[in-house]
């Protein structure tokens, strides 16, 4: 999977590493902004009130 990605990226190794870094940061940012806030309510450790259990 990552091998395939590496072979299909253009440019020398340094450029590829930079592209991969940017991609990784983009994926993490998307997770922080959209995915995790959506996921959090389904996690079983955030309830603090009485009466919703």
């Amino acid at each position: 999977m990552y091998g395939w990605l590496w072979r299909h990226l253009p440019g020398p190794a340094l450029v590829r590493v930079l592209i991969l870094l940017v991609l990784a940061v983009a994926v993490l940012a998307a997770c922080f902004v959209w995915v995790f806030p959506w996921l959090a309510p389904y996690m079983p450790f955030n309830d603090t009130t009485v009466g919703e259990g």
């Binding site: 999977m1 990552y2 091998g3 395939w4 072979r7 993490l28 997770c31 922080f32 995790f36 996921l39 959090a40 309510p41 996690m43 079983p44 450790f45 955030n46 309830d47 603090t48 009130t49 009485v50 009466g51 919703e52 259990g53």
Partner: protein
């Protein structure tokens, strides 16, 4: 990753053929022949190569999932605190909730209010999502002022705004049970240090014009559906209240929602904000 290495000879054969032939037809030819021989040798195990490739991809997916899980933990345990603390500090700033604390900075010591034990003013219950009061707990030295907002749902109140007021329970200073909820971990964790509270500890709540100083009377750990802790008389549902209680609820154990940590208190005294600050707040700063 090691899984992909297994499939690499095939890929090399396809992708880098032109590069290989650039350094001489003969060499390229010899290499091509060698490669052909090798792939003939590999013919019987081709099915095994596919399986190994699939295992390799699976391994990469699992590692990716592990990294994303760690990222989720970092988001939940650290980033939600950063975001919510910033938002709550901004609310305190915008609505001026720290202004009554300004006398604490006075060079010749703050004006201390005279405790009043008569009937305190009690505001009417505000609309959902209205921030109507603030609180500080001297025992939690170093914690910022936390605002109190009407409602106790997580997406709109507890996650972004901190402390929520159970709708229908008493208001500050009111006869009955002024009941609050907040996170103990994550999202700014306003009640993170709730277990440090001891009997007699002050909990200072203030509205726009009145200080209410409560004193902790007891703590208990209950199940999530034990709503009697926020009854007008705590743990005596249906009883007619004559006292002015406060109840803090949060999760227990930390990082779990299996139980709830409950702290009860009663109103000690009240005072107008215009007179100065309660002695309890002046002691810590």
């Amino acid at each position: 990753m090691s899984g992909t290495e297994v499939t690499r000879p095939d890929a090399h054969g396809r992708d880098e053929e032109p590069g290989g032939s650039a350094d001489g037809g003969a060499g390229g030819g010899r290499r091509a022949a060698r490669r052909a021989g090798r792939s003939r040798d590999r013919e019987p195990s081709r099915g095994g190569g596919v399986v190994l490739g699939a295992v390799g991809v699976l391994g990469e997916l699992l590692i990716t999932a592990g990294v994303l899980l760690l990222a989720f933990l970092a988001w939940q345990l650290w980033w939600t605190d950063v975001e919510s603390n910033r938002e709550q500090a901004q609310l305190v700033q915008e609505q001026g909730w720290d202004e009554p604390l300004a006398p604490l900075e006075a060079p010749d010591g703050p004006a201390i209010v005279t405790p009043r034990y008569d009937e305190p003013p009690v505001m009417a219950e505000p609309d959902y999502l209205t921030t109507f009061a603030s609180m500080r707990v001297p025992r939690w030295d170093g914690e910022p002022t936390r605002t109190i907002t009407q409602g106790t749902d997580r997406p709109n109140v507890l996650n972004p705004l901190g402390v929520g007021h159970y709708e229908g329970t008493a208001m500050p200073g009111g006869v009955g049970n002024f009941s609050l909820a907040a996170h103990r971990t994550t999202y700014g964790k306003p009640f993170n240090r709730i277990a440090e509270l001891q009997e007699g500890d002050p909990v200072v709540v203030w509205t726009a014009d009145t200080w209410y100083v409560y004193r902790v009377t007891s703590s208990q750990i209950v199940m999530p559906d034990d709503v009697q802790v926020i009854a007008p008389v705590p743990d005596q549902p249906g009883a007619e209240p004559t006292e002015r209680f406060i109840t803090l609820t949060t999760c227990h154990p930390m990082f779990s929602a299996r139980e709830r940590y409950i702290v009860h208190g009663v109103l000690d005294y009240w005072a107008p904000v215009s007179e100065g600050v309660p002695a309890e707040l002046a002691e810590v700063s």
